[in-house]
């Protein structure tokens, strides 16, 4: 782990002892991890584990009850962070082309009318090409498929040249083919542009080939490290507080609670036995 031993100069996000309480309930407690430039991190947890909450804390949309978020030396200012939220619905009747949505990433927050500019247009064209979306640049965003929309949203998030890209469940509702394409695209972006990528998902399997680091949430706490370190029976048993087995089948990993009753008690809604 040479990379991680390096100095903090590569560090673009540091989460330090974050706790979050919403409506009197503690959702996250004492969460600590960091992300380096060019690193691909998976934020793994079942539904309701607190993934979205953690991303919203990083964005500054929720204030933690304890702890600190530092983005690249103390600044948490936009557009250092690009964000693709969970479950965006884009109305097909909305008169908005894919390129318009990407353009909002450049100057959507500024006052005034959008004036036509050739540099702006070129910037959008380049970004569309980088995510391989030139083909449907002129189409209405609402008419695009889930995978195509995901690319456009990624282009939107990247065009402001952030150092950190947060994506909330970007693989949900994608077919296997586009799932793989989106993962490959993000891994390439992280590597080539030296951007830190943090992806939340309830299924870690599509990310296994590309993840540099994992942040695994359960019971409001996290375990972090490499996949091998975190996704082990020992480490997850500690995190879940019940005996957990980690089973490798072909190229997939299944996380399974050892005893049925305890899995039930733990209240996992997706499946009684399979936790992940």
């Amino acid at each position: 782990m040479q990379g991680r031993a390096a100095t903090g100069s590569d560090e673009i996000l540091a989460i330090d002892g974050i706790s979050v309480t919403l409506s009197g309930r503690e959702i996250l407690s004492d969460v600590t991890f960091h992300i380096n430039a060019g690193e691909f991190t998976g934020l793994i947890g079942s539904n309701g584990a607190g993934k979205t909450t953690l991303l919203r804390v990083i964005l500054g949309l929720i204030s933690p009850s304890a702890g600190m978020v530092r983005v690249e030396g103390g600044l948490r200012r936009q557009p250092l962070i690009g964000y693709v939220p969970q479950r965006i619905t884009l109305d097909p009747d909305m008169p908005l082309r894919a390129r318009d949505l990407v353009g909002l990433g450049i100057d959507g927050q500024r006052f005034g009318l959008p004036l036509p500019s050739s540099t702006r247009r070129k910037q959008v064209d380049e970004m569309l090409e980088a995510v391989d979306a030139t083909r449907f640049a002129e189409s209405r965003v609402g008419n695009l498929s889930g995978g195509e929309q995901q690319r456009i949203l990624i282009a939107h998030a990247l065009i402001s040249r952030p150092r950190l890209l947060l994506l909330d469940e970007p693989l949900a509702n994608l077919d296997i083919g586009s799932e793989q394409e989106v993962v490959d695209l993000l891994a390439r972006i992280a590597r080539e542009q030296r951007i830190g990528v943090l992806i939340s998902t309830h299924d870690m399997n599509p990310l296994l080939p590309v993840m540099d680091r994992i942040v695994y949430i359960a019971n409001g706490r996290i375990a972090t490290g490499t996949t091998a370190e975190v996704v082990s029976s020992e480490s997850l048993t500690r995190l879940y507080g019940v005996h957990v087995d980690v089973i490798h089948v072909h190229d997939r990993i299944l996380v399974v609670a050892g005893r049925r009753e305890e899995a039930l008690q733990h209240g996992d809604t997706e499946s009684i036995v399979e936790l992940m």
């Binding site: 008169p95 908005l96 002129e138």
Partner: protein, 281 residues
């Protein structure tokens, strides 16, 4: 049809149409049709109250529509937006019926607040209408980009510093001002039609947001101009024409969009290299 008296009618109706086209674009985009219905109808109570205490109707309209906008935006943060809007319109209509029971106005005055009085707009009324109209359009142009951003992807916009609540307040205030200037001209019921139909129809003809806004203005102008002309020629009420032309343009737009989609679908297929399917439709 173009006498001095009629010029005020053409002028005021045109200003209302331009503002309705611009503001309506965002009403339809944001799905705020219910608020666009509630504010003019609630403001109607303000006009009734104004006549009761003997001040200008436009003052009552302004006070009630602005208060209504602020209440919808404020309550909408806690409760569901449609519920907040419904509560506002219920309270305002209640006040309206109270004020009406206390006034001695003739029924025609009340009728004109609902259906407007395009032919009765005086030169002195034209000035505040024009001023408020310019303010509305300037405000929409000023916040065009953040408002578009926040309407399309509220969460992402918020992460970029475009507050969802702030945009909602600004926008509802613009709708309130639009209400204030439009109700004396076209009435509470017809401004709703002008805010929705042209903007909804425009979406069928273009994929570009700013073009859609411009087209919405063109359709709104076409609607009121032909409504005034037809009313003048036929002696039927303007409201009848505004409503039916509005619905007509929307239907034409949907038809056009459906026809265009059916034509372009074969080409949108995976490769687009299948001439066999290109001959359909």
């Amino acid at each position: 049809m173009f006498s001095a008296l009629m010029l005020n009618a053409w002028g005021s109706a045109s200003i209302v149409a331009i503002v309705a086209g611009v503001v309506g674009f965002f009403i339809v985009l944001r799905g705020s049709a219910f608020a666009a219905h509630a504010l003019p109808n609630g403001a109607f109570a303000g006009a009734a109250g104004a006549s009761l205490i003997g001040v200008d109707a436009i003052v009552g309209l302004a006070v009630f529509s602005v208060l209504g906008a602020l209440t919808i935006a404020g309550l909408g943060r806690r409760a569901r937006h449609d519920v907040a809007t419904a509560l506002v319109i219920v309270v305002m209509l209640g006040l309206g019926s109270l004020f009406l029971s206390m006034t001695t106005e003739y029924a025609p005055e009340i009728y004109s607040l609902l259906f407007g009085e395009v032919l009765g707009v005086s030169s002195s009324e034209l000035v505040p209408i024009a001023v408020i109209g310019v303010v509305c359009i300037a405000a929409v142009f000023l916040v065009y980009r953040p408002l578009l951003f926040s309407s399309v992807m509220p969460e992402v916009a918020e992460a970029r510093g475009v507050g969802r609540g702030r945009m909602e307040v600004v926008f509802l205030l613009v709708v309130a001002l639009t209400t204030t200037m439009a109700v004396p001209v076209v009435g509470a019921l017809l401004i709703f039609s002008l805010l929705i139909s042209p903007a909804a129809a425009a979406r069928s003809f273009t994929d570009r947001p700013f073009t859609a806004m411009g087209l919405s203005v063109v359709i709104a102008l076409g609607t009121v101009w032909s409504a005034i002309a037809l009313a003048y020629l036929s002696n039927l009420p303007i409201g009848f024409f505004v409503g039916s032309i509005g619905a007509g343009t929307y239907a034409v737009g949907r038809g056009w969009a459906g026809w265009r989609n059916r034509r372009s679908r074969p080409r949108m297929g995976a490769t687009g290299r299948s001439p066999a399917t290109a001959q359909s439709s």
